[in-house]
Amino acid sequence: MSLLQKGSRPSAEQRTDGNRLEAATVSISTKTKVQRRRPPSPLSVVTLIVLLGLVVAPLVMVFIGAFLNGAPGLPKSDWSLKAILSVYASPDYLWPLVGTLILAVVTAGLSVVIGTLFAWLVARTNMFIRRVLEWGVILPLFISPFIGAVAWNLLGAPRSGIINTNLRWLLGLDDDAVLINISTMPGVVFVMLLYFMPYAYQLVGSSLRNMDPGLEEASYMNGRGIIATAFKVTLPIVRPALTAAFFMIAILATGVFTIPLALGVNTGFAPLGMHVYLKMTQFPVNPPVAAAIGTLIFWLTLLGIYFYRRSIRNARRFVTLGGKATRRREVKLGWMRVPATVLVALFGLFAAVLPIIALLITALTPYAMTDFRSMQFSLETITQVLGSIDVWNSLLNTVWLSLLAPTLAVLVAFAVAYVVVRERGRLGGALDYLATFPVAVPGIVFAMGILWLYIRTPIYATVAVLTIALVAAFLPTATRFSTTGLMQIDPSLEEAARMSGASRMRAALTITLPLVRPAILAAWSLLFIFASREVNETVLLALPSTRPLAVLAWDHINANDPGAAAVVSILLMLFMAAGLLIARFVFRTRLDSSNL
């Protein structure tokens, strides 16, 4: 039967005829077509309510805040269009808007190019000490971008930075020679690159590893060389991962404020995220304008989300899990082998090794000293910080937060993914979109919404409110992992359980959950790190009793005590490393870049 005949309908006579199987059961359809749609499942309704409270309500609060003349709830606050008009109807934010876009696109573009190159070098070539170098790319994930920026300010400040100060006398240069100036816009891009590029590396890397080697081999068989194969076959196949990484990083860069702030850049241009922060912290404090700028960023990143979602949707089509474990051909780099190795090693040096050294120096010197010739060391800062009860209190908060937030985020995300992938109800689309929303709002703006929403509830001033903020912030990442993980599981595996008499719940617990375990653990590990190092979301919400280590470090920086901040940062890194090692033993998972 050809496709052209698809529209053909048997005559009424035939239909009756065909249905006459048993004389007794002949029934001619007389009822009009009943359109019965599946009602939303209880799970999807519960998940929707959770998302409305977690994601929509804080966002709504931000929008409400933008239409006031003071923070919501204050006695003198009233409805006003002033903040909205000052942001939307004046040229003041036009240049920051354009500049922010350019900054985001440049950072994301460079991150993706370098991340892809590195991923290819590590996954496909005979570069030296690949396993060691890979950690140089992964390690920056352990460093909060804001701590990294603080460290780079110590390293790369034009006059007093460790690099400039010491290279000056080492190389016998003039006293005012400036070899590197981090307090510039290129400096900001450089530091963002160091701490955002690993995301691109991770996404593209796993895509490269999952690719069927046959696709590349076929290209070699057709007489194409390494370069042509990389550009004509490999790159187009990992393209969805590239675009996903691009938009993810662009969205992150749009909301960034800690890095330009920590680098002390004043070039007359500040990205929108920094404007939000300044409006929240500078005199005169103006929360409505901060909220209004927040809404502006929201529209901007909503666009990014649209493309991001489109690219990850395509990624599903490109999943090429080669079942056959053929050994992959290793690309011989020839004379490029040494330069390639040096290039990747330099990244690890800049992103991880040097910042950690700078933090150690800061922790060990009595006040900021950068000249190696006159450096004095003491353990006083360390003993003083570790001797204060604050650090241990904060460590405890970090433990709670880093265990609770990823766990809850993964649970909610799994529910979202289950509804989206398995139930395919009409609520699924809405849930999927809602779960991506928090990406669109810079951490500080979202935290503002959470603060305004929960300040009147008993959970304010508890770790719970920080947890809620983080769970919401992590939802997009957790959902991405869970959705992808769930999609790789054949639904008939669950249906087989139902057919064997298992309830939906039992099937989900005994079949689905164990099978998505790797994806969930990967998400959990990543979010564990994020939860431990997060500052943007938590700084507005934390109180001394609920403050995690990362916020403590931030407070020390604000309180003009970089030494203490450095000690806390190092402690935080040790905590993350220990946490991941323990997780590795408890969950018996192998940790590498693919599940980090």
Binding site: M1, L4, Q5, K6, S8, R9, P10, S11, Q14, R15, D17, G18, N19, L21, E22, T25, V26, S27, S29, K31, K33, V34, Q35, R36, R37, R38, D490, S492, L493, E495, A496, A497, R498, M499, S500, G501, A502, S503, R504, R506, T510, I511, P514, L515
Partner: protein, 374 residues
């Protein structure tokens, strides 16, 4: 008979079969949004019967099966298993409460469990001793006893298929559903499994609904075949009737290799004019009224050639356009006027392409069926 939600209680039926339940599907409709995949079909199965839903991909056969399983909601009509209505407007019994089981196309063997745990999964509420015993028994039955402690992923396709089968029968379902279970196996194994499944079904006396697009499977295994097309039943019959008396051009061409010449019924209702062929085609039985557009259907193996064609009611001069050697037979294609006719000859028949030859079909082998609308 009632469907026990508690699976530990074995129910016996009064219908002569130990385990099998009857199934009745009435005016079943299944819609996805605006698209209706199944448009109102009805059929019944007696306890212990083996029924196949046959049809091309997209005909709604798998959807129907999944609806019987409870994995898809019906948008209209009803499904009754034994005496229990499991799907009706406003009613949807959850799959696990239907007392049935299913073998999936992908086998759906759980990779994180051993074979024994896979098979024993459905034996909830059964004492461990009893469960172990039943698992052992069933594994013995499918010949997988030595593999009980292996993981599903360590087995070959055929072995995984047996695990799926064992898992489906260990719960002693009243109705067993098969969703194209053999389509992922290679040809030799497929034939072997066909008989194993049938043997098992007969031995256990279970009622079976089997979905396939492979007409050989449908013909060789089923008590009855329901041929579906575009969400409607095209024909429901025993395999023999379906083959011998197709009721439509579609049924004729989908089951077996048949020729269908477009024809118009003449005044004598057992004859029909075919454009470009001098003599009307003659059938043994009369068809619909004069002037009706029909297809004159006859099987390839009934097309005789040369001397054998002499004296048959329908004899045409034809040209051999091409032929292929199939071992047991020679697959030949002839040109008769503007029409192509396929035939089968003895393998050693000497032929050359372009050769002129007389072919013929006996009137008893020709049926007039309503022509598929263009």
């Amino acid at each position: 008979m009632s469907i026990d939600t508690d699976r530990t209680v074995e129910s016996t039926t009064a219908n002569g079969s130990d385990l099998g339940a009857s199934l009745s599907v009435k005016d079943l409709r299944i819609a996805y949004g605006e698209v209706e995949a199944v448009k109102g079909i009805s059929f019944d199965i007696r306890p212990g019967e083996f029924l196949t839903l046959l049809g091309p991909s997209g005909c709604g056969k798998t959807t129907t099966l999944r609806c019987i399983a409870g994995l898809e909601p019906a948008s209209g009509g009803s499904i009754t298993i034994g005496d229990t209505v499991v799907a009706a407007p406003g009613k949807h019994v959850q799959p696990e409460k239907r007392g049935i089981n299913m073998v999936f196309q992908s086998y759906a063997v759980w990779p994180h469990m051993t074979v024994a745990r896979n098979v024993g999964y459905g034996l909830k509420g059964v004492s461990k001793q009893e469960a172990d015993h039943r698992v052992e028994e069933v594994l013995e039955l499918v010949g997988l006893a030595p593999y009980a402690q292996r993981y599903g992923t360590e087995l070959s396709g055929g072995q995984q298929q047996r695990v799926a089968l064992a898992r489906a029968i260990v719960t002693r379902p009243k109705l067993l559903l098969f969703d194209e279970p053999l389509s992922n196996l290679d040809a030799g194994l497929r034939e072997q499994m066909r008989f194993e499944i049938l043997e098992l079904q007969r031995a256990v006396g279970i009622t079976a609904v089997y979905v396939t697009h492979d007409q050989t499977e449908a013909m060789s295994m089923s008590d009855r075949v329901v041929l579906l097309r575009d969400g409607l039943i095209e024909q429901a019959d025993t395999p023999r009737e379906m083959y011998r008396r197709p009721r439509s051009e579609f049924a004729a061409t989908f089951v077996g290799r048949a020729n269908a010449l477009p024809a118009t019924i003449t005044g004598s209702r057992d004859r029909a004019e075919v454009h470009g062929i001098p003599n009307p085609v003659v059938a043994a039985e009369a068809a619909a009224g004069e002037g009706a557009s029909v297809a004159a259907v006859f099987r390839a193996e009934n097309v005789k050639a040369g001397a054998e064609a002499e004296g048959l009611e329908n004899a045409w001069s034809a040209t051999v356009t091409r032929f292929g050697y199939l071992g047991r037979t020679l697959d030949v294609q002839y040109a008769v006027g503007d029409h192509e006719v396929r035939g089968e000859l003895a393998p050693d028949t000497p032929l050359t392409p372009g050769q002129a030859i007389t072919i013929g079909v006996a009137a008893t082998d020709v049926h007039f069926v309503p022509r598929a609308e263009a």
